[in-house]
């Protein structure tokens, strides 16, 4: 009995002191308690996966009370899994954010943490307002940008030389002529990962960027109405361009990034001369070369100009990859996001992914000529549009992606493409 009383007394004391310590003083209580978070990213292999492991380990070392569980998810599966997780209330705390319509939908559903006041002044010094603009919706910041990923054509300089091409094509007519020259050498002129739909759709989006004025592009993003003639014209341009069979055989079931048979793999192994991609492509190609090192003869040129279009010459399309915090995430999530925007981490990001970092200090480290070309084109561009499928949102974007594939496979025509985009509105 006596022992029991003693024990009880001790327990009361311990509990009391715990309660006191929890309440006492101005010290930040949450930073003392253990915090664990989950992180979802899309780098399943190679240096990209290693980057996230190292970055998280370093952050945990500096913040011993924080543990972050890292989970890599195949890029094409990420969006679906993320949406399921968000809807089931089981969202990861930190996750890849592609911006555009998808981010807007997440904001509207109250699923993202508002980062507007959580971006540190140090971060603001090294990350440009333009980059934050891509992660802004209704005047609030919802994600930390980590990488600028403008698109364009990545090509093998050796294969171009072998075909007698001395200068990267500046117009679509040049490109068509080069396609014929490349064909004569027996390689596939252009690799296309149509199995994933969006790589094919990018061709249409780029033609639209050349045909449509920035004002039309932005109006359509809002109204999702494709009645302006420039959209049909862009579809027609693509169909005409595709008529010369510039793409690799079997492009319909070629994936974009998975294995040597993918479009990036075809470029990496000199089976195809080029592909239209975003600036993540050098990293993807590097992971698919025989020795898993960057392709030595990789070059970049912006999407060629088109005569007679209403688009601004030099206009560029691309995304800004960022990371968001779930609305339920602990406040350390914002600390982690500020950490990944710091110059050393951004330099490591650039080295791991072979993609241009968003941090302007880290951008100075970029040595590869093709990435310098990417950044030059990006910084020179009079108008930068987000990827159109992202802008238009999941429903229309998805329908348009598939509609472009249908047209390229000969199952539909430019009118059908526009019709498919309009029809999708009925389903969602």
């Amino acid at each position: 009995m006596k022992g029991m009383k003693l024990l009880t007394g001790a327990a009361v004391l311990v509990l009391g002191s715990l309660a006191l310590s929890a309440c006492s003083g101005p010290s930040d209580s949450s930073s003392d308690s253990k915090v664990s978070m989950t992180l979802w990213h899309n780098a399943t292999t190679g240096p990209g996966a290693a980057f996230w492991k190292t970055t998280v380990a370093d952050f945990e070392k500096a913040n011993p009370n924080v543990t972050i569980k890292v989970q890599a998810i195949q890029n094409e599966d990420l969006d679906g899994k993320l949406q399921t997780a968000l809807n089931s209330g089981d969202a990861p705390d930190i996750f890849l954010q592609r911006g555009g319509g998808k981010m807007a939908a997440m904001v509207q559903a109250g699923q993202l943490m508002d980062l507007t006041d959580k971006v540190s002044s140090d971060t603001k010094k090294v990350v440009s307002d333009a980059s934050f603009k891509a992660e802004t919706y209704q005047d609030k910041v919802w994600a930390m940008p980590v990488s600028v990923l403008p698109g364009g054509l990545f090509y093998s300089q050796d294969l171009f030389k072998a075909a007698g091409i001395t200068e990267a094509p500046a117009t679509i007519d040049d490109l068509s002529a080069d396609v014929q020259k490349l064909k004569a050498t027996g390689v596939a002129p252009i690799a296309l990962g149509a199995k994933d739909a969006w790589p094919a759709a990018h061709w249409f989006y780029w033609f639209a960027l050349r045909e449509c004025s920035p004002a039309t592009m932005e109006k359509t993003a809002d109204s999702k109405d494709f009645s302006d003639g420039c959209w049909l014209k862009a579809a027609q341009d693509l169909q005409d361009f595709a008529a010369q069979n510039p793409f690799n055989d079997g492009f319909l079931t070629t994936s974009a990034q998975q294995g040597a048979g993918s479009s990036a793999g075809l470029v990496a192994n000199h089976k195809a001369a080029m592909e239209l991609m975003g600036a993540w492509d050098p990293g993807v190609i590097a992971s698919l070369t025989p020795d898993q090192k960057p392709l030595p003869d990789l070059g970049f040129y912006p999407f060629p100009e088109l005569s007679g279009g209403k688009g601004e010459p030099g206009a560029i399309m691309g995304g800004v990859d960022g990371y968001s915090c779930s609305v339920k995430a602990p406040k350390q999530c914002a600390d982690f996001l500020n950490y990944i925007a710091t110059t050393p981490v951004q330099e490591a990001y650039y080295k791991a992914f072979n993609a241009p970092p968003v941090n302007t200090e880290a951008q100075k480290q970029v040595t590869e000529p093709y990435l310098q070309d990417v950044l030059a084109a990006y910084n020179k561009a009079p108008y930068v549009s987000q990827w159109l499928d992202t802008v238009l949102g999941q429903n229309i974007g998805n329908a348009l992606n598939v509609a472009v594939v249908d047209m390229l496979a000969g199952k539909s025509d430019p009118k059908g493409l526009i019709q498919a985009a309009n029809d999708a509105a009925k389903k969602g």
Binding site: E76, G80, Q83, L86, N87, A105, M106, Q108, A109, G110, Q111, A194, K195, D196, A197, N248, D249, G250, F251, L252, T253, T254, S255, G261, K271, G393, Q394, N395, N398, A399, N401, V402, V405, D406, A409, K411, D423, A424, K426, K427, G428
Partner: protein, 339 residues
Amino acid sequence: MSTTRETTRPGSVSTSDLAQHDGSGAKASLPSRPRRRGAGWSGRAEIALLAGPAVIVFLAFVILPVAMAAYYGFYRWAGYGPPTDFVGLQNYVVILTDPAFLQAIGHNAFIVVMSLVIQGPIAILLALLLNRRMRGQSIIRILIFVPYVISEVVVGTGWSLMLSTNGALNGMLHNLGLGSLAHDWLSDPNIAIWTLMGILTWKYVGFAVILFLAGLQGIPEELYEAAALDGASYWQMQRRITLPLLGPTLRIWAFLSIIGALQLFDLVYIIWGQYVASTAGTSTMATYMVANGRNAGNYGYGNAVAVVIFLISLVVALIYQRFVLRRDTAGALTERKTR
């Protein structure tokens, strides 16, 4: 044919007889149930205990999701937050007028018919072959059955690598000097569905063979001996004895095959991915549902598609049970007839 059945299954009646005796007549001939001691509370407790867990699981994981899908199907819903935008039957109108969905139904129907027409005869011949004593029998059995055991993901990935434009099959054809036979097996819309049929046959014929082998084991040897004494040839015996007595097995296999073909998803999804199945002409109702529901973020619409698939499968299954399987399920799903 019918004589054989009646000799082996005394008491079973032909379909025409059944039609006449249907309903009250059958019920009247039921023997009165013997009264069991302890029926009442303890009996009910026993039933509840034994059937309860299964009933709960069935309600929670079959009936509830169906009801939820029916509910969501009436909404335009992007999947964020609870559905609010009630649209009535609008989703169903769009589904049933969408040419992409009608094409998907067509592909399903094609696969249903072709699975029966192609796999049935092949499986029967293989089963007859394997039912005889011969060397290497077990190895052949394993080889035929292994594809069925391998997961769909592995099968799909393997075949898509081998059949791609620069894949092993085309490589082999070129090396054999048969380059003219090389095709875009997966991406040519004129060929793709036949490629799919080939893979489905390769994968599922083993299952049919095993079923048929089991069915063959159940046929009494005496019948063949008697037939042999009467001077029947091998093929006559198969036609007059084996096929009729294999009937119940055949009908069950056909049922499983039809339902499987109606719900086909995984192989198509693995080989053609999330987007291009409809372009390649291999989309099914289930891939349409995922493409236009989950991928497009139209969860209300996707649920409505799920309901349509459910109804189609249900109707087909009920019709099949009512008209084809009724002899085989007599006594299990319906009251047993007196013998």
